[in-house]
Symmetry: C2
Subunit: 194 residues, 2 copies
Amino acid sequence: MVTSPESATDRRVRRTRRALQEALLALMAEKGYDAVTVADLIERADVGRSTFYNHYADKADLLDDCLDGLRAMIGPGPAPDAGRGVPDRLLGFSLPFLRHAGEQRPLARAMTDRAKATPLLGHVERVLVEAIRAELPSGTAGPVPVEAVLHYVAGTFLALLTWWLNDEKTHHTPEQIDQIFRALVTPGLRAVIG
Amino acid sequence: MVTSPESATDRRVRRTRRALQEALLALMAEKGYDAVTVADLIERADVGRSTFYNHYADKADLLDDCLDGLRAMIGPGPAPDAGRGVPDRLLGFSLPFLRHAGEQRPLARAMTDRAKATPLLGHVERVLVEAIRAELPSGTAGPVPVEAVLHYVAGTFLALLTWWLNDEKTHHTPEQIDQIFRALVTPGLRAVIG
DNA sequence: CCATCAATGGACAGCGAGTTCAGCAAGGAG
DNA sequence: CTCCTTGCTGAACTCGCTGTCCATTGATGG
């Protein structure tokens, strides 16, 4: 026993988990989250059934494990691949997030599809709310509660993201969506906080 | 054969459907949509299993049937129980909708719970988008697409509604939420359309 | 080189969806 | 009021998916 930080001591374990994670993401992009069965997963990952349950309690547990990368992208720092210029303006998560979603379009679409009822939207919203809370100036004593503002911004972002991903006709770039997001959300923000 | 407009000719049919609809709503308020099984439904409604499938293809079909009341509330006219004054200002659906949700809190909460992944949010959003489209002045040729604006408003409303229903600490009234909604969304709207 | 630990795979019980059918009861038309 | 249409019944059945168990095999790290 290596007593490493609670993860991946054995190469076999790492291999198995990576295979399962990739299988889930691939299958989600194809069929949507809830259409994916455990039988699908273990077949795609080429892993025994009992092996799956050795690592994860169920499908949702595996999904949680897959979400860590996403959390890392929004969460702390000013986003890894912010690209050009300084992302020191407010709501810095927006553009990197949109770019990443644009690159993984089928997967991102499956994740934000409301009809398919992914529990994922809830997770994403929570992460967003925390990211925004960290960015907003704390001293906001208006008639509008801070929590309401947080959910307002997160809800707007998710609404635009979902619309963009499922829109077949017009083909906007991540940069355009970012502009639209800011154009819509900034006036309301200014009106409420300083 | 009476050839009536495709609905409820026989009293037995009406009785059975009403029983099933009420059962679904009651059970959703208790357990959430996806925890409700067909066995639950027919037991609560006191109806045979095959009877259920005589009327609905599945659970989702029954849910659709339950949603007509909701569509009626938002859809056409300036909302049935608008109450005081003239609701001729923009976004007239907001206050009646919030009042209704406040009266049916447990049910409304179950419907908007993202963790429980109700397909219902998708339906509601679609109805909202159409209602807003009907209200917005059609001539909006800005840099921001009309569709984006529609989803922006609907997304904001749903985000605030969800937050409000699941907020345990602060207890706001429907009127307060309506005010917050307008305070946040109006500046962005004005900035984009005329 | 060896003890450990993960992977295997097949069998199993449990649950929920959706179907079928022969028999029964209630409704509506005349 | 009568009769025939129509909907309800309820139980049994198939099917697919979940989650568990266990004896066995084989790779891994010390």
